[in-house]
């Protein structure tokens, strides 16, 4: 029978992840955990694939804190279904190198096995995150860019 993840477990996981709490995370991660964050690693150093507890602990406790401090996550949506969890979140943090505040949305799809995190997939609004991390707009217009039908967008 599938283990049903509770909201308390989800909250404890995020608490440990945001704090980079090695002991808590060690207890919550499966030995064979697979961790994927989609995005440009040249700008967002913590993107990429990690396999196994040691690599994920290095990410959460060393790499991520070396880039961002005071990480906070606010859940906009939490969907729990059996051993799966999907969260839509807004992350806020301070860039360690210069103290600038950044904030962007990310989605997290987590799967538990034997009560531990065995897989996570993160989707970040990476264009927004990259601009904030760089501190400037990304130039996307060029003369070779195809012409598009004008399309007024109201925000």
């Amino acid at each position: 029978m599938a283990h049903t993840v509770t909201r308390q477990v989800v909250d404890a996981f995020y608490d440990a992840y945001m704090k980079g709490d090695r002991d808590q995370l060690t207890a919550m991660l499966h030995d064979d955990v697979q961790w994927s964050i989609s995005g440009p690693i040249s700008v967002l150093l913590y993107c990429g694939e990690r396999h196994g507890k040691a690599q994920v602990l290095e990410l959460a406790c060393s790499i991520l804190p070396s880039v961002l401090a005071d990480l906070k996550v606010r859940h906009e949506s939490v969907v729990i279904n059996g051993d799966g969890v999907a969260t839509l979140n807004r992350l806020t943090a301070r860039r360690r190198s210069d103290g600038r505040q950044i904030g962007y949305r990310f989605a997290h799809f987590i799967r538990f096995q034997d009560g531990k995190v065995i897989e996570t997939l993160s989707i970040i609004d990476t264009f927004d995150a990259a601009e904030q991390m760089l501190g400037h707009s990304l130039a996307v217009r060029d003369e070779e860019a195809p012409q598009r039908v004008p399309d007024l967008v109201l925000l």
Partner: protein
């Protein structure tokens, strides 16, 4: 769309899924399945039957590159995004479901979207996360999130110059 056709579409969509939109926030998984199948089909006539009149639809991403990104309010605006504006950019869209979760009146899906650019027929493919909420048996809210940097590079057809990107430190080796 005529009222008769709208009713027919609603009944047809619900019948296919063995469920029908109801008037409460308790959402049957079959209805959520049917909605997402309609959404993935990109057929606004079918998809529209599942939308609340006051739906708020957000697609995160750079509107300079992907013009249908932004927040769209109301059923008509959302249908216009799906039926016209998205098709100005992408044709032959296929949505492959990788994860799908239902919890009460909320759902979440991780998908891989593949499509053909209308301008030059190049194929683009990227992951999209969709989070949606039902109210009165209809979708009242959706947020779509994508790896927008990757999507933008594919749509542009070239790498985005990031300029002064922070260098990879010796202890920041990333294994892909």
């Amino acid at each position: 769309m005529s009222q008769a056709l709208r009713t027919q579409v609603t009944v047809q969509a619900a019948t296919q899924a063995g469920a029908e939109p109801n008037g409460t926030d308790v959402v049957e998984p079959a209805l959520v399945e049917a909605y997402f199948k309609a959404f993935a089909s990109r057929d606004p006539a079918v998809f529209g039957a599942y939308l609340h009149d006051d739906v708020v639809w957000t697609i995160s991403g750079p509107i300079d590159v992907i013009p249908y990104c932004g927040t769209h309010r109301g059923k008509a605006a959302v249908i216009d995004v799906m039926a016209r504006r998205a098709r100005n950019l992408l044709r032959d869209v296929k949505v492959k479901r990788e994860k799908f979760l239902i919890d009460g009146n909320r759902g979440a899906a991780l998908t891989r979207l593949t499509g053909r650019l209308a301008d030059d027929s190049r194929i683009v493919s990227y992951r999209v996360a969709n989070f949606f909420r039902f109210q009165d048996g209809k979708v009242i809210e959706n947020v779509s999130l994508m790896d927008s940097f990757d999507a933008a590079e594919q749509v542009l057809g070239h790498a985005i110059e990031v300029g002064d990107a922070p260098p990879l430190a010796d202890d920041n080796l990333v294994i892909l």
